[in-house]
């Protein structure tokens, strides 16, 4: 697409990550351009969650380099703060703050970390709640909402920080089937707005519709990287073929 810059906004070079002696990521390299939508898939334990958790420093990589929008990820506080400001994250288990109302969940970051005035933060939060189509739930507590609604609140909470990149870690895996679509619709709308997105998901219909790039991971390795057309019609590796067969024909 014409709007996408040539310079990658996320650059991972030879990234390795260990949990004790277990190697979760093996020499992974990946470039993501601004506005690009990347869908990461792969079997359980393949390292796909670890991959995106490394991008916003929820996990520290041991080898290689990760550069996000010109900021090299390291132990310095300035690097950590810069990354957190640029990157939003949506979790499988939503991770909403259960003791705060929906509105308070959304405004906590802007008010405390961005020093935004309360009234302005409330307006911002309401505008994003409207975007995820649940403004009427603003005064409720997370536990009073359905799973799909909670996940949409979590997406709105991330968007309130106005990130340049959004990471999604299996955002629909904890949802009942009838609630998956309402979350995917919000994500599709977000993709069409030009947000840079990296999504770990098993929703292959969503991937076909939205992804610019498909990534397949297995045993900590980035096995395949292709456009959705090539990826679904003619996957190169045997491992990827087997994986697609399993999830597409159940």
């Amino acid at each position: 697409m014409a709007s996408k810059g040539a310079e990658p906004v996320i650059r991972m070079e030879g990234v390795s990550k260990f949990f004790g002696t277990f190697q979760a990521l093996k020499d992974v390299s990946l470039d993501v351009k601004s506005g690009e939508r990347v869908v990461v898939c792969g079997p359980s334990g393949s390292g796909k969650s670890t991959l995106i958790r490394c991008i916003n420093r929820l996990e520290k990589h041991e080898q290689g380099a990760i550069i996000v929008d010109g900021v090299t990820l390291n132990d310095s506080r300035s690097s950590l703060n810069a990354i957190r400001a640029k990157v939003g994250m949506v979790f499988q288990q939503f991770n909403l703050f259960p003791h705060l109302t929906v509105l308070e969940n959304l405004t906590l970051g802007p008010v405390r970390a961005r020093n935004m005035a309360r009234a302005q933060a409330n307006d911002l939060a309401m505008s994003y709640l409207e975007r995820v189509r649940i403004p009427e739930q603003a005064e409720k507590y997370p536990r009073q909402l359905s799973g799909g609604q909670q996940q949409r609140v979590a997406i709105a909470r991330s968007l309130c920080m106005e990130p340049e990149i959004m990471l999604f870690d299996e955002p629909t895996s904890a949802l009942d089937p009838e609630m998956i679509n309402e979350v995917l619709e919000v994500m599709t709308e977000l993709a069409s707005s030009g947000m840079t997105m990296v999504c770990v998901t098993h929703e292959m219909g969503f991937a076909r519709r939205v992804a610019d790039t498909m990534v397949f991971m297995d045993h900590g390795e980035l096995v395949e990287l292709a456009t959705p057309e090539t990826f679904f019609s003619a996957p190169e590796s045997q491992r990827c073929k087997e994986f697609l067969q399993k999830i597409l024909h159940h």
């Binding site: 916003n56 979790f91 991770n95 003791h99 970051g109 970390a113 507590y141 991330s158 309130c160 920080m161």
Partner: protein, 246 residues
């Protein structure tokens, strides 16, 4: 309150069966009995003030000791262990004596009976508070920290707005326990002359020679006080649970 009435009636019954009781000493119908009762109850002020001051200080100290115990830094964790193990090993009575008689020699500053009591009780309790806070904070799901991280909250803000409000709800029963414990342990400060409930009872026993009746009143004073505190803690628990449910 039923339990209080039951105990009172038991005492009355016992007195009926035996000539050993002499309730006249605290009979509010007589002038001297009323004066004695007032004297006993006048200890309430310092028992409550001492306990509340000490528990506030010990909660803050306990939290400040608990946080390094949750750090990834080994030295900070070692500080937490050392503090808890050392402070927890000293009997409260010993600590009271040490702070009141020993500390002024060491520091050159005279400490009032009240503040010696507060320091000793708070110090002793803080080790337990530290463990309670550590357990409460550890019980909060990792995802809460990760969500706070992803909306750019600082460590202090994460603790203040996300972790502690949830942890405190969970440890409220344990904190209530510590307050009850503190009210009871404050009776030990009577040994250095603090004019609280136990000290007043001791003084009255010396002049009236009726330990049975006077100490029975003392037991009832603590019982009523602690039942009120328990009810308060339960009310707070219900209120906080309701907050989260609505």
């Amino acid at each position: 309150m039923m339990r209080v009435l039951l105990l009172l009636s038991m005492a009355a019954l016992l007195s009926g069966c035996s000539a050993q009781w002499g309730w006249y000493v605290v009979n509010p119908a007589t002038e001297s009995g009323l004066a004695n009762l007032k004297f006993l109850l006048s200890g309430l002020y310092y028992t409550v003030l001492l306990s509340l001051t000490a528990i506030l200080i010990s909660m803050v100290t306990g939290l400040l000791v608990a946080l390094p115990g949750l750090s990834e830094n080994r030295k900070l964790r070692a500080f937490n262990r050392l503090y808890v193990e050392l402070v927890r090993a000293v009997p409260i009575l010993v600590l009271i004596l040490w702070v009141y008689y020993g500390l002024p020699q060491l520091s050159g500053l005279a400490i009032s009976v009240f503040w010696a009591g507060v320091i000793a009780l708070a110090l002793s309790d803080s080790a337990f508070q530290a463990e309670i806070f550590r357990a409460g904070i550890q019980s909060i799901n990792r995802g809460q920290y990760e969500a706070a991280h992803s909306v750019s909250l600082s460590y202090a803000d994460t603790m203040r707005f996300v972790i502690l409000p949830q942890a405190i709800r969970r440890i409220l029963p344990a904190l209530g326990n510590q307050l009850v414990y503190m009210l009871k342990m404050s009776s030990l400060v009577s040994v250095i002359g603090m004019q609280e409930l136990t000290r007043k009872a001791n003084e009255l026993v010396v002049t009236e020679y009726r330990p049975l009746e006077i100490y029975t009143i003392l037991v009832l004073e603590y019982l009523v006080l602690i039942l009120i505190v328990s009810a308060g803690v339960r009310w707070l628990e219900r209120k906080m649970q309701a907050d989260e449910r609505n």
